[in-house]
């Protein structure tokens, strides 16, 4: 009892002499309490952080998923727009060709190819209801594709210029020599009936002559690939590479009839 009393007196005397002297006790008390408090604070803080991060991550994950979907949608949209732009570009070229040719024509889409390996034909999505008839020329902005060999109600079959049964009356753009371009069946054509002394060289442009009554004059058919002069023969042996890339053929123009000039 006395000890407690004395201790109380000591504490009171510390109070009376100022805060500085009591600092030792505070220091001691703080020294003892700080580590566990720090530990508790660390645990609570980290738990809180962890919780917040978890909640945040959940939200981030949701947002991430949403953004991924958005990116996917935008990529698809971009591809679609690129496809549309490319299609519009091709159609614009066809339209320009249509205006330049001065022929009534109809644009058609290539929807199929010959299921028989020995025929080089295409199926287009325009037929007799659109005015397409047998014998009409089919072209693109790159040049001559072929002509219609069968026309049905809503589709038609086009014989490519590379088929063995195709012939086009042509002339060489530079030398104006006339000849016939026949399909070879192997993706190339032969230019026939050019005189042996004719001025023909590789790269010369071969254009339609308009003499066959099927193709308008001046349409690009292809370029001379090789020229062989064999003595003892009447004509040159000329190979022609078609100007149209049949691997990338999507839209074509069917020439219906020449426009009447007023």
């Amino acid at each position: 009892m006395l000890t407690v009393f004395l201790l109380g007196g000591v504490f009171l005397s510390f109070q009376r002499e100022g805060f500085e002297k009591a600092g030792i006790l505070y220091d001691f008390a703080l020294l003892v309490s700080t580590p566990p408090q720090r530990a508790i604070h660390w645990v609570v803080k980290n738990a809180e952080d962890l919780f917040q991060r978890y909640v945040y991550l959940l939200a981030v994950q949701e947002e991430n998923d949403r953004l991924k979907r958005k990116v996917e949608e935008l990529l698809q949209e971009r591809e679609r727009l690129k496809e549309l732009a490319a299609s519009a570009d091709r159609l614009r070229k066809l339209l320009r060709l249509q205006k330049r040719l001065g022929w009534k024509s109809v644009a058609a889409e290539v929807i199929g190819r010959s299921p028989y390996p020995y025929m080089r034909t295409l199926i287009i999505d325009k037929g007799t209801v659109d005015g397409v008839k047998k014998g009409m020329a089919v072209v693109t902005s790159e040049g001559v594709v072929g002509h219609v060999i069968e026309a049905r109600r809503s589709s038609a079959i086009v014989l490519l210029i590379t088929d063995r049964n195709s012939s086009v009356s042509v002339l060489l753009r530079s030398s104006r020599l006339r000849g016939i371009v026949d399909g070879r069946g192997d993706g190339f054509c032969s230019l026939k009936y050019l005189p042996l002394r004719g001025d023909v060289k590789e790269g010369d442009e071969v254009v339609t002559s308009g003499m066959d009554g099927m193709y308008p004059k001046g349409l690009l058919v292809g370029r001379v690939r090789s020229v062989k002069r064999e003595p003892g023969r009447f004509f040159l042996d000329v190979d022609v590479s078609p100007s149209v890339d049949f691997n990338r053929l999507e839209e074509v123009l069917v020439l219906l009839s020449p426009k009447r000039r007023s």
């Binding site: 190819r113 299921p115 028989y116 199926i123 079959i157 014989l159 049964n165």
Partner: protein, 172 residues
């Protein structure tokens, strides 16, 4: 009859699928002659009315390809009856035999088409590497397509008589 109709509709679907898919493939790539494959299949697997789907598929192939109407119908029917005749004499239903039969049938089909175009005064196709590739691909596709056909036509009612394929199975 039901199975024969099944072969026809299956062959027609293949024709449409192939014709629609081809514009997306390089122009000079060889591809199998599906009607010829169906012809070999029908001659080895169908006993009665096998000629009917082949006649119709041949006409359809002529329509889609722009070949003279009847050219493929004639050549495919002839091949059908030849293989049926051969199947009575030889065992043609094994995988190797069906591939060899298809290869021979493809070459015969080419020759027949060549002859028909010559007769009609048209330019026949060239005997080039692409044609040979086409025969090869057609022959190689035979076992896969026959297996697929068997699976797809499995639910169809079998015709009354045993087919040469079934006869072969019984003999084994």
């Amino acid at each position: 009859m039901k199975r024969a109709l099944g072969v026809f509709f299956l062959g027609w679907s293949y024709l449409i699928l192939l014709g629609g898919a081809l514009p997306f493939l390089p122009h000079d790539w060889p591809y199998p002659d599906l009607v010829l494959l169906m012809t070999v299949y029908a001659s080895l697997r169908l006993s009665r009315y096998g000629w009917l789907p082949i006649l119709l598929l041949g006409i359809l192939q002529d329509l889609y390809a722009g070949t003279p109407l009847g050219a493929n119908a004639f050549s495919k029917l002839l091949i059908y009856f030849l293989i049926r005749w051969g199947a009575e004499k030889f065992f043609l239903t094994s995988t190797a035999a069906s591939m060899i039969t298809t290869l021979l049938a493809a070459s015969l089909d080419f020759l027949l088409f060549f002859g028909i175009l010559l007769l009609l005064g048209l330019s026949p196709p060239l005997m080039e590497v692409r044609a040979l590739y086409s025969w090869g691909i057609t022959a190689l596709s035979a076992p896969f397509l026959f297996h697929l056909n068997d699976k797809l036509l499995g639910s169809w009612q079998r015709s009354g008589r045993l087919s040469s394929h079934e006869v072969g199975q019984v003999q084994r």
